[in-house]
């Protein structure tokens, strides 16, 4: 079980890092349909038991992906509601497939609404700093460009592959941008007038989970009184109790520093994600509108309360 848990956490971290949370969610949902198809049933009861085990595993990944856990619970609800009508593998497959297609459509519709809500946050002449690998932010910038808004983007470089992917996306969307190493950002504090971010999730400790490196960047610009805008759909809220250890993953590895004169080997510590406190953010934009930190806290608390019964049922 521990092995399976590690493997699942690892693959989820990798896909999230490669594609972002929205694509991870979409891909995982499609994968549930494939898994239902490929799974060899002993009985429907066996399937329900094993689905519960998979749900339990999803709740323990590092980091926990709130939206995915939410969808797993939704699927369980759907199966429970329709249990009477499920008599065969085909019935089960059909119920799961239609529920998943609906979830995927809802997610896409929320993502489109988020972009619409976010458009008002961009004005002509803006100089926007971006850093984390957020599809929501990239889609918003591309849409704003399509709507002929005149702004420029400063892309703070992070891990080479993520930066490369963001550069490719910005270029394809014809968004004007420059890149700058993330350790040289202090020189741009006066030039940049907004910081745009995305997040994996927002949890009951009132922290966002974001790409590694975001926290220090946001702290720096918050200190310089540059407004910080965070974009995420409310489905990404993590409505379960969160332990600190579940938000990031620490990796210590032997690193080989290759230099023409020296080959050095040393321990290098890396973290998968950052925790970003809500009070460092000025505006949170969801598919439902633009929220202040106080308002988003209220919205979260309300959802958290609404799902108290769910938590009892599924944890």
């Amino acid at each position: 079980m521990a092995n399976l848990q590690d493997s699942l956490s690892r693959i989820i971290r990798h896909i999230e890092a490669d594609l972002g949370t929205s694509a991870l969610t979409d891909l995982s949902l499609s994968n549930i349909i494939d898994a239902v198809n490929n799974f060899e049933y002993r009985s429907l009861e066996d399937f329900y038991e094993q689905f519960k085990e998979l749900m339990a595993l999803m709740k323990t990944t590092k980091p926990r992906i709130g939206v995915l856990i939410f969808h797993f619970c939704e699927l369980w609800e759907e199966m429970s509601d329709q249990k009477q009508g499920i008599a065969s593998k085909e019935d089960l497959y059909n119920v799961m497939e239609s529920a998943i297609v609906m979830m995927q459509n809802n997610n896409r519709s929320d993502a489109a609404k988020l972009v619409n809500e976010g458009l008002d946050c961009i004005q002509d002449g803006d100089s926007i700093l971006i850093h984390n690998h957020s599809r929501s932010v990239l889609n918003l910038l591309i849409e704003a460009r399509r709507k002929k808004k005149k702004f420029k983007v400063v892309l703070a470089e992070q891990e080479a592959e993520k930066t490369h992917d963001m550069v490719k996306t910005l270029q394809a969307g014809e968004v004007p941008f420059v890149t700058v190493p993330e350790f040289m950002l202090s020189h741009l504090e006066k030039e940049v007038n907004k910081v745009f971010l995305g997040a994996l999730t927002f949890n009951n400790t009132y922290n966002f989970v974001t790409d590694a490196g975001t926290n220090s960047l946001v702290a720096e610009f918050h200190h310089a009184k540059v407004p910080i805008y965070l974009f995420m759909t409310s489905r990404k809220f993590s409505l379960w109790d969160t332990k600190e250890s579940q938000q990031t993953h620490k990796v210590t590895q032997k690193h080989c520093g290759c230099h023409p004169e020296d080959m050095l080997t040393y321990d290098r510590v890396k973290f998968s994600h950052d925790r970003l406190p809500l009070d460092l953010v000025d505006k949170v934009i969801t598919e439902e509108g633009v929220f202040s930190p106080k308002e988003i806290k209220e919205l979260f608390d309300k959802r958290y309360k609404d799902y108290a019964l769910w938590r009892k049922k599924y944890i």
Partner: protein, 434 residues
């Protein structure tokens, strides 16, 4: 002179085995010493180089450089991952067969480079026995490569120098390779049956394997493939196989065919992949290694060392079955620890001499197949026996998987013994019954 030539060759062998210094530098250094000390003259050294082998390798390296750039192999890898549906047994069998198949036309090292990343991603993610997968790929790259003239460097050396065609190799090697592949896959499936047990009844594992396969799919299909580039590459690979098959009818030597294939590929695809870039993908160090080895072996021949070995082996017995066994097992067991390329380069003139001294005896051609089978399969016995083994282990280490010398041998040595035994049985059946 004898001692200089012998000293250079055996010091080189030791250094090749332990890989302390780049093997090409060692081989070239040795060749330079032989010329400077007058064991060989400059002219003799130049005459010793088998340009046909070099041209064949160069042409095929160019073709494979283009094929790799086209994304064809990544696409095939992705299909394998998808076709396995995450079943451990299917992952294992498909990867082993794909490795063996690809090795028949590709350099073993290239095959390992292409397949190991997918194998590690799949097996690590699925919680399978990753070490077994990595070792299996190294072993099957050697087993598959044994089938053809271009599959493994020892075969290329033997084929070109002994005048054996692509089809000669296929006709003579297909049965033992199929039999031993089945034996090895069956044996591993039996010994490691717990590691390869099906996961279809475990929903979490099925879900996890699906996620891993999806990641492999987008990772390896991320690069847009140009239809013309891929189509032309596939066409060139097929054309080259056809050219090798009908080589006796064409009346061209294999070196020239290889060179023509490489140049035509570069001409057809120059818009998609620059020739300058393709040239960078040619393994120049391997070509130089071969050149230096030809010079070192020529020196051993000139000083009479090869005649001494020939006399030793031929004098030991005129019994062909016994000679077959001596070559299969002698070369095979030596290849466990010694680089098989210099060993084969050394043995080729020896076999020519044995054939000359036993002229008129039937089935002398079997000695070539004994040499090819012994050299290609013996390398599986240890991690240092073949470059694909060394590369596979070092790639695994980069992913945090440590495969010890003993760990490799635990799988590799039984496989070597089984495959050498199967080779011996096959050659003896050929001798007595056909």
């Amino acid at each position: 002179m004898l001692w200089i030539a012998l000293g250079v060759f055996f010091v080189s062998l030791v250094l090749f085995t332990f890989d302390w210094i780049d093997k090409t530098v060692v081989a070239l250094g040795g060749a330079a010493i032989l010329i400077v000390t007058g064991v060989l003259t400059w002219e003799e050294a130049m005459m010793a180089i088998d340009y046909q082998t070099i041209a064949l390798l160069f042409g095929l390296m160019l073709l494979m450089g283009f094929a790799q750039e086209s994304g064809l192999f990544n696409w095939l890898n992705m299909k394998i991952a998808r076709g396995s549906k995450g079943s451990p047994l299917a992952v294992f069998v498909l990867l082993m067969l794909f490795t063996a198949g690809l090795s028949t036309v590709l350099n073993n090292v290239t095959v390992v480079l292409l397949i190991i990343p997918v194998a590690i991603a799949l097996s690590q993610g699925l919680g399978l026995n990753t070490k077994l997968m990595v070792i299996g790929i190294a072993l099957f790259s050697n087993i598959g490569g044994t089938l053809t003239l271009i599959g493994d460097p020892p075969n290329t050396l033997i084929g070109v120098q002994a005048g054996l065609s692509f089809m000669d190799f296929v006709k003579n090697m297909i049965i033992p390779i199929i039999v031993m592949s089945a034996l090895v896959i069956g044996g591993i499936m039996w010994v490691y049956r717990e590691d390869l047990a099906p996961i279809k009844r475990n929903l979490s594992k099925v879900f996890l394997s699906g996620l891993i396969i999806k990641r492999i799919q987008y990772q390896f299909s991320g690069k847009k493939m140009n239809k013309f580039f891929v189509g032309a590459t596939v066409a060139m690979i097929f054309l080259s196989i056809i050219a090798f098959v009908i080589q006796p009818l064409l009346g061209l030597n294999v070196g020239l065919i290889g060179l023509i294939i490489g140049i035509v590929t570069a001409l057809v695809l120059f818009r998609h992949h620059s020739f300058q870039h393709a040239l960078k993908e040619v393994e120049w160090d391997s070509l130089l290694f071969f050149i230096a080895l030809f010079i070192q072996v020529a020196a051993l021949e000139k000083v009479g060392f090869l005649s001494m070995i020939t006399d030793g082996i031929a004098g030991f017995s005129h019994n062909i079955p016994l000679l077959i066994l001596v070559i299969v097992w002698g070369v095979g067991l030596a290849s466990i620890f010694i680089n098989n390329i210099p060993l084969v380069a050394l043995m080729i003139p020896v076999i020519f001499d044995i054939q000359a001294s036993l002229a008129g005896t039937p089935h002398l051609d079997l000695l070539w197949w004994a040499l090819a089978l012994g050299a290609c399969l013996g390398g599986n016995g240890s991690v240092i026996g073949s470059s694909s083994g060394l590369l596979a282990v070092s790639m695994a280490r980069k992913h945090g998987i440590d495969i010890s010398f003993g760990g490799f041998m635990k799988v590799g040595l039984p496989v070597t013994i089984v495959t050498l035994a199967a080779s011996s049985a096959y050659l003896l059946v050929r001798f007595y019954y056909f």
